[in-house]
């Protein structure tokens, strides 16, 4: 056994963690406290961290200030869900191909997929805008779903490929010997075994899609009815006089579901995060 911590070491570790976590969580803590403060208190000096006469009023009044809030939250969920379905549908066969049938040039192709990750949507915004316009997809959900999924596909292929490579090859071969077709093998042997990996990829994709809905939604859609939460709130944020407590309340309502997901699925997340370090 390695040396134990001395009391002052433990104390400084906790102090360090407190400082570190304060940096990480300060905006959320402050945002939450702001959502509880009455507006008059926000705009008075001296500044106070703790709300006086705190209430959840803003959580009720915000629905009137941002009438489309519920719709924005729904849109965010809808877009992320469809993105996840598209990504999984495309990625599962591709990952299997890379994991099991390395052909000439497959390593290079895999590298090319990785390189796609390095391009942000912002760089390709002009041609994507033209493409979306050409396809008549501007101001529809698809203008956000189609490019959104594209940038989540490569890292998902990498992640799932790594996972599938851990499934013993003998299983596929045994199925082939028994006369199963390759497609049947993929469906009946590999798919069930790869399920945990697919679930991780799906969670990562959903969270990624939910988190990154900004630039495409900002540029390819101007209709409130299709706006996801980030852009919907950005319109609110950009106003001359921001009703901060309501904005913060709306933000919290919007992130609450994701927070719940994290708490329950953090084990998967850490696994996915470290294996899929190609995404940030």
């Amino acid at each position: 056994m390695i040396d134990r911590y001395k009391w002052y070491e433990i104390a400084s570790l906790y102090a360090g963690i407190a400082v570190f976590l304060f940096f990480v969580l300060a905006p959320f803590i402050e945002g939450f406290l702001v959502s509880l403060k009455p507006l008059s208190q926000l705009f008075s000096t001296p500044y106070s961290f703790i709300p006086k006469n705190g209430s959840f009023d803003a959580y009720f009044t915000m629905w009137k200030s941002v009438p489309a809030l519920g719709m924005h939250i729904f849109n965010s969920f809808f877009i992320s869900t469809v993105v996840t379905i598209v990504v999984i549908a495309v990625v599962v066969p591709a990952a299997y191909a890379f994991a099991r049938f390395p052909f000439t040039g497959s390593a290079m192709l895999l590298g090319a997929f990785l390189a796609v990750n390095m391009f942000s949507g912002a760089v390709l915004l002009i041609p994507l805008f033209r493409l979306m316009r050409g396809l008549g997809l501007l101001n529809t959900y698809w203008a956000m779903i189609v490019p959104g999924a594209a940038f989540l596909i490569p890292s998902s292929i990498w992640l799932l490929r790594t996972y599938m490579m851990r499934i013993p090859k003998e299983l596929d071969e045994a199925a082939w010997v028994d006369g199963a077709s390759r497609l049947y093998t993929l469906r009946r042997v590999i798919l069930p075994l790869a399920m945990p990996g697919i679930v991780v990829v799906a969670i990562m994709t959903f969270i990624g899609a939910y988190a990154q809905q900004f630039i495409f939604a900002l540029t390819f859609n101007s209709k409130t009815e299709f706006m996801p939460l980030p852009v919907g709130l950005f319109a609110f944020f950009g106003k001359q006089e921001v009703i901060w407590n309501e904005l913060m309340a709306a933000s919290f309502i919007g992130i609450l579901p994701v927070m719940i997901v994290i708490v329950f699925l953090q084990r998967y997340l850490v696994a996915g995060l470290t294996a899929g370090a190609v995404k940030q």
Binding site: F28, F49, M118, A211, I262
Partner: protein, 295 residues
């Protein structure tokens, strides 16, 4: 066993959807950007070939060179601070003390929460009159009056860096933590029985063993930071007076803001050249590291 040829065909069939998707949504736009960069495309339906005019214009004015330099300074500070804070976080979260799991979960919110929502919260924190940072500084008597962080070039520049660091740190921390945990325990035990202290072990075992992870993460982080759009756009939209205008922001303003597709595309091509250069460095580094492992 099945023949290689049919196996390859089967693999290609499985890959087809992904390939078609990426070719349409990433590769084709990349080519389109290059083509557009040699035209005077704008909102109008027709446009002409203008050769190198866009490139001459963006480099001739001197303005864009400034933007490039600013982007690199911005990226350099953001990435370096992320690495340092991430390493600090990983060391702390690696310590075997009660509460470890909870602390690890608590680092994740900036990464998983929609980026823009985190940025709205920073927008409030930076508020000059009543925001938390300015407010606390005043309450403690550290400054005489309110500081509107986003209203002045220098402070806005650093404010956007701090927010970018905040968004990137969870990822770096968790990645470093994983790398730290994969260092063989017996190395530490051997050093410990030889009488090496905690700091000595960190410096002589942890840091050297972490170098591959640090290189990988800095390059990935470099690419992500270089491409960072949301933070600057939401907080300052590139202002005040261009002090936070990085290449991405400049491209967005030109192309989408002013509808100068051709000029914007030329900027996007310059960005792409940098990104490709970073990628090559990254792939080379990864290969070197793998060879190093094999030895």
């Amino acid at each position: 066993m099945t023949s290689t040829r049919s196996a390859t065909l089967f693999a290609l069939a499985l890959l087809a959807p992904a390939l078609i998707y990426i070719l349409t949504i990433v590769a084709y736009p990349l080519v389109d950007t290059i083509v557009l960069s040699f035209t005077n495309a704008s909102l109008k339906a027709s446009y002409d070939w203008v050769g190198w005019a866009n490139y001459q214009r963006i480099f001739g004015a001197g303005n864009f060179t400034e933007v490039i330099i600013r982007t690199f300074i911005w990226t350099f500070f953001s990435v370096s601070i992320k690495m340092i804070v991430g390493m600090f976080g990983a060391v702390l979260l690696n310590a075997a003390i009660p509460g470890q799991t909870l602390f690890r979960i608590l680092t994740m919110p900036p990464w998983v929460v929609p980026m823009s929502i985190g940025i709205f919260m920073w927008g409030w924190m930076y508020n000059g009159q009543f925001g938390m940072i300015s407010g606390l500084l005043q309450n403690f008597g550290l400054t005489n009056g309110p500081i509107a962080f986003l209203a002045y070039g220098d402070t806005a520049f650093w404010a956007t860096i701090v927010t970018d660091v905040w968004i990137g740190v969870p990822m770096v921390t968790i990645y470093f933590l994983a790398a730290m945990q994969s260092i063989p325990k017996d190395l530490y035990e051997a050093a410990w029985s030889d009488g090496a202290g905690r700091f000595y072990r960190f410096r002589r075992i942890t840091v050297p063993m972490m170098i591959p992870a640090i290189i990988t993460m800095s390059l990935l982080s470099l690419i992500a930071t270089f491409n960072s759009f949301d933070i600057i756009w939401i907080l300052t939209q590139g202002g005040p007076s261009n002090s936070t205008t990085t290449m991405i922001i400049d491209t967005y303003k030109t192309a989408i803001g002013s509808r100068k597709y051709g000029e914007g595309a030329a900027r996007a091509v310059v960005i792409s050249i940098f990104v490709i250069a970073f990628c090559l460095v990254y792939f080379r580094a990864v290969r070197k590291l793998q060879q190093g492992e094999a030895k």
